[in-house]
Symmetry: D3
Subunit: 325 residues, 6 copies
């Protein structure tokens, strides 16, 4: 069984039952979410043995985060419980003022995860690991977090663990192009598998897709695969060893909740990659996982198993009427 470690902040998400301006919302569902954790849980659901590094407050919400990881089967021995800082929280505003787009309001300043530091990275849990996964959110959270992530990279270097990185730019953390480039540079340089999206590329390079790809290829010194998510346009993957390029269109599903779809994509891509599927197959599973996730509320709940993915692809690829009941 392949083994993966992820790292990042996991927060309590307060998601209104109704769509519309947050101001008028009076009933909220509590979810748990974090981009890297979503990716890791997607991998766990696809049979990978996963472990997660984070820090939570010594409070009820910290227990929620740990329980959630544990309930999905992800190992939590790398989770720090911080008695001084609380677990981060954020509020979601869905479909307002832009239908089907989501705004977020963070209460993550001073959160336990933003105080995660180099000292909290326990090298021993990296034993026998095949892949390490982090995204651009973690180094953007705080200098401490960035150093912690760099330490993890350094351990991976020593232990010859592959690194997967998603640029995952959050404009409220990385306000402008220069700050984003400065913060993310060592991660882009180091990743063997590099995920990004057309919005991120435009933010980083302010030019058209082709030029942006050339730009990022220059930085991504050790990348083997460069995966670009293009939303409704589907996704593409450049195999930088062979120079070949692969495309997959998106599956035509109704968008219910865009949050977490990119994470599902990454997780399914990586799990398929670790299971030695072809790049083309990896893209197909990734697009299917993204489509399933985008068609349902929640980040973790829609993440599919292999059986779910295969049924989804069968139904969408074959067109004939199949009895499901």
């Amino acid at each position: 069984m392949k083994k993966v470690i992820g790292m990042g902040e996991i927060m309590i998400q307060m998601n209104p039952v109704e769509k519309g301006a947050l101001k008028y919302q009076t009933l909220f569902e509590r979810h748990v979410a974090g981009s890297e954790a979503n990716i890791i849980i997607q991998m766990q659901k696809l049979g990978i043995q996963t472990s997660f590094i984070t820090s939570v407050g010594e409070d009820q919400f910290g227990e929620v985060v740990i329980s959630t990881l544990r309930s999905e089967g992800t190992d939590t021995s790398g989770v720090k419980v911080d008695p001084e800082h609380p677990t981060g929280v954020y509020f979601v505003q869905r479909s307002y003022p832009i239908p089907k787009k989501t705004k977020v309001f963070y209460y993550r300043k001073g959160s336990a995860a933003s105080f995660l530091s180099q000292e909290d990275i326990d090298e021993s849990i990296f034993e026998d690991v095949d892949l390490f996964l982090v995204s651009g959110i973690t180094p953007a959270l705080s200098e401490k977090c960035r150093n912690a992530a760099l330490k993890a990279l350094e351990i991976c270097e020593r232990k010859r663990i592959k690194v997967a990185f998603d640029t995952n730019i959050r404009v409220n953390l990385l306000q402008n192009r220069q700050k984003a480039l400065d913060t993310l540079l060592p991660f882009i340089q180091r990743a063997q598998i590099l995920f990004t999206g057309i919005g991120d590329l435009y933010f980083l390079f302010e030019s058209d897709l082709a030029s942006s790809i050339e730009n990022i290829k220059k930085i991504a010194e050790r990348a083997e695969l460069l995966v670009i998510k293009k939303g409704e346009e589907g996704a593409m993957c450049l195999d930088l060893n062979s120079g070949k390029s692969f495309e997959h269109s998106s599956y035509p599903v109704e968008v219910i909740d865009e949050l977490g779809a990119g994470d599902a994509f990454d997780g399914a891509f990586l799990a398929a990659y670790l299971e030695n599927y072809s790049v083309k197959e990896c893209l197909k599973f990734a697009c299917a996982a993204g489509a399933i996730t985008v068609s349902l509320k929640g980040d973790i709940e829609p993440l599919p198993s292999w059986r779910d993915l295969e049924l989804f692809i069968e139904i969408f690829d074959k067109k004939e009427e199949k009895l499901l009941r």
Copy 2:
């Protein structure tokens, strides 16, 4: 007033408030549903005097079933209350992993209805009845149920009551083609009005639509009307007496809950048929009833009255702007 009797299992349906994997659902609505009962209630709402034969447990859920039939005006003197076996229950998983498609998880093994037997069919309630309705689910439930349904056919024979039958194949009850053919044969042979769908035809005959139709026509010895539901493609009806064929396209509504749409279709078709509408009109009302049902959650709640059907058709067929308030 025309009089119709239906027969089949009615179950308690536990339907999650949210779409997605059943595993994560924590809040459920209780509904009542059963394919034949849905058809019968649709007919009752369209002015037919209806009665239903089933068996329920002597428990709270059995009372729910009886109350529901009674509240719609369907006569329940043919309902057996079984002190030994419980009322069946099933759980629904909506839109996962296939958006807008529904999976079901049954707790119907050993249910009261599966113990319904020949002895429970009271011939006296067939007096003055114009039509008897059953579907492929009932004979597939158990040998006992199949015999009970055959006894009803035999009563109809003697009393010259027309029979309507919907193949309504459930793959978890009739696992393969052969079992389906063996189980359903006498019902297909006997029905004057025969409903089926493209999925059922493909399951039964594993060939294209045209060949499947030829195949089923050969079996359906006494059929006058063969009605084929084609989902988003609409529906067709072969008048086997005249040899004429009629088509109606489906109405363009958003699919919210596919469950029960075929039942609404059957019920509206049969009610219109009993009210002596032309086959073309029957198809139109059937497609409209299916469209209304597919656009709302629930099986029984969306079933329309004549006034609802007429307004629906007026709005969709005329295009001009009409003030509704």
Copy 3:
């Protein structure tokens, strides 16, 4: 800051949580709504100083109405509290039997607002007002209400306050063409800014759009702008001074709740007009406000601010991928 007064009935809206036939609904949300009040609150959210004339019962629901206006910042010194008559209530049936269309069931007969009379119009609150807004619902409520509205027109005449009027025909109040024309005539004649819709025009003139426009132009003696809402076709505005005509297509959003969209349109148009935007800009903001409102449940809650409108228009008009988080 521009100052506007509106007048009309505000009711308690009981809106089922689920769509479908009202008969089966068992859970309702309480909202507050009234066409003219919606328009006024839209204007208040867009920076206009607003005030409202209405009458509510001296009961809990009357307090709800006043609290709601107050919470949005609208002045309530013109609201009468009537100890004799209750606040009006209505029930909503969504998406049945026509998907995405709404039916309403009123309990407004004898409501406090229908007893609003000339004596209740306090001239002093019209001081320094730039615009008075009323719609066809108010004169249709009762003879008393119509006289009260006529008195307001007369005050406007004396004080040289512009009048905006929306024909806003309710067929259950104005059963036929003649009654509608008779009731609304003085308001159509008097308005400087006249709103109507293609359904209203067809109801009033029973002819095609072009002829209907000619017909209403003949009546609308003092109109400067004639604004015609065309639903999914967008909207047009005739500048009757210059003779120019302007069009704006509707924004392509999913329709969730059609109620209140026309009110949002009117309010945004008028606010932009008072802020001296061009007619073309007014139409654009109006269409955007309508689109945002139609894509969410509720009448008041979706009404956008300038910031919301601008973001909406930016996202829909530019097509490039923009990071929102």
Copy 4:
């Protein structure tokens, strides 16, 4: 099987999910309730064959009322459907400002039931009836209703049907003592079984319990049983034939919703009476039914069956620990 007819208004009850001032309530459950209908349904649940006389609007809420009666098994052939007047509605405010006490806000003026008239009473449904039940609410609704109820009394006289009457005073309908006495007199005079409560007695006679009883006994010329509900003090019954008096204390349960408890009491008393239980037994069942009803929300839902009543009494009367599961 004994047969009973009841008569009265049945309304749609909008009951907030939360307790507290109605002003702040935003979520409501729809229930169906009416004092006499509650009593009749209690009797139906206890094996009596019941029928009900009322009038409802030709609207969705009218259908709700009829469905509800039908679902409980009560015959609805005596229900008029009025195309001109709507079904009555009322809103409930629970536990505010007095904990555990309920206020109601009516929208019943001009309701279909208030237009029920002598002409609507169909003598044929009184065939073979053992008891007729009405309460003080019905004659207080309107002069029409009072005459309709008097006509029913007159039919009972001719057909020698026993009459049960509950004074059931509503202060918002019968504002003062004199109006109450004038309105209710012929009903008090006529009833064989007369129910009242300590609040009603104090309102009617403004004196202490003993004097009030003497007063009402003088009026109640034909009463055989005078049953007085005393809330937490339990209940008493005077057998006016024998002159004996019986008492039963109330069962010690937590009060959740006082609405409908008196109706449950009446219904259980009458059902037991018709089944020839002793007065003492009748009081015991009545107190138990009231206690079960008071301990749950809703008027109809808590009404017990014989099995429920017997289990309740067994648990409360024996004190030993009994395994229920």
Copy 5:
């Protein structure tokens, strides 16, 4: 009409729908609360003209706070909108692990209100004010807040405005006795009307009630009334001018939500005081307001009007049965 100004933090309260450990809660209601704001709104509901000084974030939750104050009629011209800091949020855990007791989890560090400073206090809104109200929470929030509150005291001194102060100790802000005494000293010294509770007194003086009262009397140099809330034991008030002492027992209601009861008490006491009721009457109204509030969920929603208070007191003080409907 009497005029009062209050000052303090108002936060968004996330209150789980269910009681129990926060960890398991997945559905939350959003409320708005703040001890001083609760007191002020209680006074507004009792006919006092109120105004409030606070600071909120320039965000959706800040708008919620302002809307809420406005909807109750409280003037918001003293509310600062801070573009740099968010509106505070807290989560509530009800009845766990102690039944009927509430724990809170704050996300208020760095909130807009904690940055409220002397510069934000606009002297002009103190014109014609009769009373200023603040509690021990405000000076405990931050040094900035404490200085802002001291500036308000100084304005009151100059303008001869009475000061009401409630010690209102929060142990998570004022960790120990010394810190509490140091922080609150100038407020206790300055208040004419001083509220405290037996828990606060024990925390401040660690001795029995009699000694604690002696201790606080020594500090409270200018106090005219010292009001001590004793929970289920009721309340007492020492008139320090006359030396007389008054007691009132608590009303026997079931405790549903203890939050806000003390605030309702203070607000009703102060409103009655400003309306020149006797100290004994003030205590009675205060105890009634506290009882009503403790018997319902929410802080603001249960706050009673005079009519509510009077009905409550009538029902509880007279014992006879009164018809409420």
Copy 6:
């Protein structure tokens, strides 16, 4: 760290949101529960390392059971996933017809757990275990289950693992005294720590408490501690080695949901016992855990940690007012 293994069925519990007759319930919460699992999770929350033996269906509900155990930290390597039989389900009816008492309706016949057999007991997970826990439900489920439990006893014998047993009689599984005695005999004989309740004792021995204790002591050959739960009377424990007897009264809390309280009691008693607390202390913690659980809905959610238990006991044992916020 002490290590414990439990064994039993874990089911999906469908719990209506509202109290009352199941027949009228339309909204249900899904919970997970099982008596032995509740006990084990209580122990896990109190710091014991736990593991559980059960069998679930290879279905969504089976995944729910495993996720739940895992989320609490209980090891699931002893859980069998059965592809042939479904996970058991039951429905709960709360407070009807007996207030605060719960009835259950099982769909557990043929459940995966009832097919758990000797072969499914993996001896290896008993390594280093300090205690094995089972209750009377497991042997009552099926002969297979009884044999599986007996095999576990036999492993414990060989490995010198202590056995805790709770008689936990379910009358719908063990219909009468004789069947109960026959089924449970070897477990009562074998347990070192034996839990029972006054209802169970009365069912088994049909005599008074003192005689019943003598009776069970004769059977319980190897018992060291006999713990008797007496509901509102508290609990007692006989130390059969020393002959001493200990009592603890119950804590005075409002009963909200009696389900699971006995399990919390057992779990807290055993955890305290394994942590070497005195019998008296064990009883105190057990009564506190039971009281906390009885005061909240749900079986697992209310189970307290040591910190919760200590705070609860401190508040209830000391009476002084303590500031909790």
